[in-house]
Symmetry: C2
Subunit: 190 residues, 2 copies
């Protein structure tokens, strides 16, 4: 009988609609506007139905963030062109990272600022969470013996640049120069 399969499928589709609604509202009106009541209205079910899909609001943010990590990883990988030099690759990945952060501020917030219940560096950590790191590690590898530490530092530098610029605390006009300095850290020379 395909009945229970249909139910499972419909349930999955409804969950998707919740996540899509959360993301859409967040990107248009900010995360403060993503309320359980509003999501329930959006999917045309009552509020408790939301809680049959997610334990709490944070987990909904987490579901959106997980999508974001997948998309960030894809963007970083896409930025790596085979024809580039090793240095250009690092530069391109850095630029792609910041582009992502500024083009999708709500998504970036879900991924790095808001509580999400996501667990990093564990055995059950989803692939999306590892993949972005992997993309960065790929371009960092040629420059470092301790790739993990170098990648962590590279990532941190990019994250800091994204956050401080997003909050208006460093000058947007000098973004390229700052990336150049990051390059210097990675490559060990200018």
């Amino acid at each position: 009988m395909g009945i229970s399969e249909r139910k499972t499928r419909e349930r999955g589709e409804r969950e998707r609609r919740i996540v899509v609604a959360a993301r859409t509202i967040a990107e248009r009106d900010g995360w403060a506007s993503v309320t359980i009541r509003r999501l329930a209205e959006e999917i045309e079910y009552s509020q408790p139905v939301i809680y049959s899909h997610f334990e709490n609001r944070d987990q909904i943010v987490g579901a959106v963030a997980l999508e974001g990590f997948g998309e960030l990883a894809a963007m970083l990988r896409a930025a790596i062109r085979p024809s580039s030099t090793s240095k250009e690759r690092v530069e391109d990945v850095a630029a792609a990272y910041l582009d992502f952060a500024f083009a999708r501020p709500a998504m970036y917030e879900a991924m790095f600022i808001l509580p999400t219940g996501l667990r990093f560096a564990r055995s059950d950590t989803p692939a999306q969470l590892r993949d972005g790191f992997g993309a960065m590690a790929t371009v960092i590898a040629p420059f470092s013996k301790d790739v993990d530490t170098a990648t962590e530092t590279f990532w941190a530098a990019l994250h800091g640049l994204a956050e401080l610029e997003r909050h208006g605390r460093i000058r947007p006009a000098f973004r390229a120069q700052r990336i150049t300095l990051i390059m210097q850290m990675v490559s060990g020379q200018l």
Copy 2:
């Protein structure tokens, strides 16, 4: 007549008590526990009194954050020892910055994560907000022609390290190695 002076003074003291209470509660129970109701109870006045001192909750967070910027600046300046080499100074300031972030997570959150209504890079920007940057610029200056950009990048790297480690996304055990890499960025050689 000293009556109005007394009133002004008492009003100022009450405002201090609000800020101190907010900070104390935040450091003990997190910012979510800092509610207007709780602050009112703490200072033994009704809730509207809080709003005669601050426009809204964000401004209270901002007042605490402002204190934090002053204290961070002081800690960074204290980390600069006259006997150190230029490189050691950068290293000491970096370590002091991260120490601050990890020792006072609630304060760091108020300063860099939460909405505060504070305005940076403006004519009316308070001295505290500029001073931490100044301390970093002091130790960066010997290594760079464009001190502002280099300091921004240094600051961003430290902020990123603090945030990613605070959220458990990079390995605490490798903090020193990451600082070494930041040094490399600053000094242009290992």
